[in-house]
């Protein structure tokens, strides 16, 4: 068989060699034309082929990467920063930033429907500071899909629904830094491990109530906790005034009863802590079309009450710490791609001591405030450059701060919650 075919080939090639040169060219041209037309057909097929051809990655999770970096100017040294009247969580000392160029909050988000009943998401944040790179698991949760009756359950690590800004990722924030009250009582943002239950009422307007049962291992709680170390309750309501105006208001409550060794610099807090919060958001867009122009007004208020002791677990709480404050901010997109924003922050705190030896804190009432202005430009939904200036009266010395920041996201298309 093999021999025969070789023989046939040899004969064939002899024939071809024998054939006229011109004839050969014609044949080749013919072949070329054939192939060209076939290629064209194939290309056309490729263009109109069914959706499946584009969806080779269907079973891979959606991945998006957030790249954030900045150039910062501080009149005072940010290393010496302290928020008047607050004992800041350790995380904050990194988040205030460094002078000059620095990488901010780089994030990798992976998410996908797990099956018809569950959705899952993982968010890892990479922080570079002092030559070290730390990976922080910010979110790792599963969530039910269409449990029915407006119910949703979430398990794992997630950003708490407390407040309005808390569950937004920092790249979605309108300013380069967290409001002072968030910095003071949540160390910028509060997440923990646990279970969240949420219910949307079957009302014509939006009404959402829910609760979170948390381990209580994360600031502002702390320590090894058995069972539920902290819990939150939240309620939100919202609707449209009309096609151009929408609103949402929210109330939230947080409590941790057995905080152990909440470390603040070299002091340890033992005791209980409660936080209440209220927030309101109003959004406006001409004709409801936010793409070209829109306006957003948002405000939040929190009060934290700590009752406990420093240094040891005591029978009777000696210290009563009160922190309260909030912010109001307005962001206006005046032409496509360009937004301007103003923010005013104010916090106050007071400490009372029923014991004899003042080990901690400056006593009495202290206030801190800050004013910010920002201008940002977004080439597309995926890229944003921001310039922000703060006049900051939250430290002992008034500070001027300037940030030039980029926040870009690449990968899958994010969705916009209100």
């Amino acid at each position: 068989m093999m021999r025969k075919s070789i023989l046939a080939l040899a004969l064939l090639s002899q024939n071809i060699i024998a054939a006229d040169d011109v004839e050969l060219r014609q044949q080749i041209d013919q072949l070329k034309q054939d192939y060209n037309s076939r290629l064209q057909q194939l290309e056309e097929k490729l263009q109109t082929s069914s959706k499946s051809s584009n969806n080779k990655n269907t079973f891979n999770p959606d991945i998006s990467v957030i790249l954030e970096g900045r150039y910062a100017y501080f009149k005072n040294d940010p290393e010496n920063y302290s928020l008047s009247g607050f004992q800041l969580g350790e995380k904050v000392h990194h988040s205030l930033g460094e002078k000059g160029f620095s990488l901010g909050h780089s994030e990798i988000v992976m998410s996908s429907n797990i099956d018809d009943k569950f959705y899952g998401q993982l968010t890892a944040a990479l922080h570079a500071h002092d030559g070290e790179t730390n990976i922080e698991l910010e979110e790792a949760f599963i969530q039910t899909l269409g449990l029915g009756h407006g119910l949703t359950a979430k398990f794992g690590r997630f950003f708490s629904e407390i407040g309005y800004l808390n569950q937004q990722h920092p790249h979605a924030w309108d300013f380069a830094d967290a409001p002072l009250i968030y910095r003071g009582i949540f160390a910028d943002q509060y997440n923990d491990d646990g279970l969240q239950l949420s219910w949307i009422a079957p009302t014509p307007f939006y009404l959402n109530i829910g609760a979170e049962f948390l381990k209580g291992g994360h600031y502002p709680s702390s320590g090894e906790q058995s069972g539920v170390g902290a819990y939150t309750l939240f309620a939100k309501a919202g609707d449209d005034f009309n096609r151009e105006n929408s609103w949402q208001v929210g109330l939230s409550y947080w409590k941790a009863s057995k905080i152990k060794e909440r470390s603040i610099m070299d002091m340890m807090f033992f005791g209980k802590s409660q936080i209440i919060g209220a927030n309101a958001v109003w959004k406006y867009a001409p004709n409801g079309n936010s793409k070209s122009q829109n306006f957003k007004l948002q405000t939040e208020f929190f009060e934290q009450r700590d009752d406990g002791n420093y240094g040891e677990e005591s029978i009777a709480p000696i210290y009563k710490n009160r922190h309260r404050g909030g912010y109001v901010q307005a962001v206006y997109q005046f032409i496509p791609q360009w937004r301007i924003g103003l923010r005013y922050d104010r916090v106050e705190s007071s400490y009372t001591n029923n014991g004899t030896t003042p080990q901690c804190c400056e006593f009495g009432k202290q206030t801190a405030h800050r004013s910010s202005i920002m201008l940002d430009w977004s080439n597309s939904e995926f890229s944003r450059l921001r310039l922000q200036f703060n006049r900051d009266y939250s430290n002992k010395e008034p500070d001027n701060q300037l940030f030039l920041q980029y926040v870009h996201s690449l990968g899958s298309h994010g969705a916009h919650s209100f």
Binding site: L46, N54, N55, G150, L151, T203, D240, S246, S290, S417
Partner: protein, 294 residues
């Protein structure tokens, strides 16, 4: 206290619950199509207006509340609502509109999409992997979609199956007549060279045999830049463009500028039902669209 609260909530919620079919239409054209088929047999909520770019919508509280109650979701699909629909599905805890359920109806699943990108890269703008999602601009699509939607309605609400089937036949009859009329009217438009703002009119262009010379957007979804407009101006002159077209929700500045420079006529076209005062339902919308083009 807690018990009273739950009782109160149960009371107020029960007073709003209706047993009938609740339809959540992402865009006005699907609301209008649903209306043709269901008549008074369902409540239809339309999530966006013709003045809104359906790609740039937030999952507002009102949308969450409405999606919570829907038994049927009618959207375009093909990633048009990618910025907000996933949140509605995730947060509302509504089983019947999840992807795996019959209450999830994506119109783009029932037509052939054009403009599928051969490469997926964001340097090309906000491209849609599935293809051009603006399927409503080819009226022939409504026949296929109406057929598919009818079948879906019959599954969800079998009691009224015969009614939906009748309504669909009525619609198909009416629509076929209208198509003949429109195609007769639009004969002269064939081969007309037009410039569009965004790739919204791809299907209309194919239907009427128009020729797209350029788009005012430099990349899909990015606003026109002066540099790009200079190129468009050049192209418009070279190719002898005859018409500049923009949708009612798009900024008319770039179109006006080009019209002034080139003396080419520019027209605003309603992108969907409600885009102009004349476009009150599907038929009057296409009537108006063609009137403006002719």
């Amino acid at each position: 206290m807690m018990k009273q609260l739950i009782l109160f909530l149960a009371l107020i919620s029960s007073s709003f619950v209706k047993a009938e079919l609740n339809i959540f239409a992402c865009e006005p054209e699907w609301g209008a199509l649903a209306k043709e088929l269901v008549g008074e047999k369902a409540d239809i909520y339309i999530a966006t207006t013709a003045q809104q770019d359906p790609h740039h919508i937030e999952a507002r509280p009102s949308l969450l509340a409405k999606a919570r109650q829907a038994n049927l979701l009618i959207c375009t699909g093909a990633e048009l609502e990618i910025g907000w629909l996933p949140i509605l599905l995730q947060k509302t805890g509504n089983k019947s509109i999840q992807k795996s359920e019959q209450g999830y109806f994506m119109a783009a699943d029932f037509v052939e999409l054009i403009d599928k990108p051969t490469k997926l890269d964001r340097s090309e703008g906000d491209v849609h992997a599935a293809g051009n999602p603006h399927i409503q601009t080819d009226p022939r699509h409504f026949l296929q979609i109406s057929q598919a939607l009818t079948q879906r309605l019959q599954i969800i609400d079998p009691q009224n199956a015969d009614f939906y089937s009748q309504q669909n036949q009525l619609f198909a009859k009416k629509w076929n007549l209208a198509l003949q009329r429109w195609e007769e009217l639009a004969k002269n438009l064939k081969g007309k060279r037009i410039i569009t703002h965004h790739k919204s009119w791809g299907y209309l262009i194919r239907w009427l045999g128009l020729e797209e010379v350029a788009t005012l957007e430099p990349k899909v979804g990015l606003p026109p830049t002066s540099g790009h407009l200079a190129n468009v101006l050049e192209k418009a002159k070279q190719n002898n463009a005859q018409l500049i077209v923009y949708s009612n929700y798009e900024d008319s500045k770039a179109a006006n500028w080009l019209a002034e420079k080139t003396q080419i006529k520019q027209i605003m076209l309603p992108i969907t039902v409600g885009g102009t005062p004349q476009a009150v339902d599907l038929e009057s919308w296409f009537n108006d669209l063609l009137n403006r083009l002719l």
